[in-house]
Assembly symmetry: C2
Homo-oligomer: 118 residues x 2
DNA sequence: TCCATATTTCCAGACTTATAGAATTATTGT
DNA sequence: ACAATAATTCTATAAGTCTGGAAATATGGA
């Protein structure tokens, strides 16, 4: 991942409406949400929301797909993960003491795949 | 962590000079680097750099400490980690399939503490 | 006190972002 | 073709950011 792409993603998320949109779309994976409904749920005018969705799309964090009259937006979790990876490796490279507690913190919600016996 | 604080941190890192500063300071932990040297190494005028350092400081990502005539800046890795945790739990809550590969990706560089026998 | 060093604050200009009204485009049904 | 629905683009305004020259502030040494 290029640092230019990371900056684009960080800038996209560094705005409260857009952070809310991204969280909403993550919570609605894998179904996605039409643009109008996003605007309604977050109480933002449709055209303003359209501008925000365009920023998130350019940043690669969401992807639009037309379905009949609606345009369904979905979070691109792969892209988000690669941004997070860049950030953490940047920080972690040579400094395990930083990421180890983060992994410890994350593991309870994301258990590494195990054979089902416990 | 408040989402307001996260937005501040994301905005601070969403700028190439500041991302470079943060990376530099992470690589120079725990010694830190004086403001003037940061400016020199990144080829940015001192007053411009001062503005960027102020943004990073307000965001909680770095901390200044005066030592004689110099002001030494250090990365605040704890704060950075709590930003990363917020972002990933936001994404991860209920969706282990997102963070599991990230943990897998991170683990080689940040081995969980083990008794020394390997 | 006077000077040099290190950094910040003040200020202004250029640029970018956030917002939303009005108009436009795309799709579907009658 | 016409109307209704869904979303975007056009446009303008207000607000915020980035940059760096000039001035100001803090520190330490002679």
């Amino acid at each position: 991942m290029e640092s230019e792409a990371v900056i684009l993603a960080l800038a996209a998320l560094a705005q409260s409406t857009r952070l809310d949109v991204f969280r909403l779309l993550v919570s609605r994976e894998p179904t996605g949400v039409p643009a109008g409904e996003i605007a309604r749920e977050l109480a933002v005018p449709a055209n303003t929301m359209s501008a925000h969705l365009s920023v998130l799309t350019r940043a690669g964090l969401v992807r639009p797909e037309r379905r009949s009259r609606s345009i369904i937006y979905r979070a691109d979790l792969e892209h988000f993960r690669s941004v997070a990876t860049f950030l953490l490796k940047d920080c972690c490279g040579g400094r395990p003491e930083v990421c180890a507690p983060l992994i410890a913190d994350l593991t309870p919600c994301c258990p590494p795949k195990e054979p089902a016996h416990g």
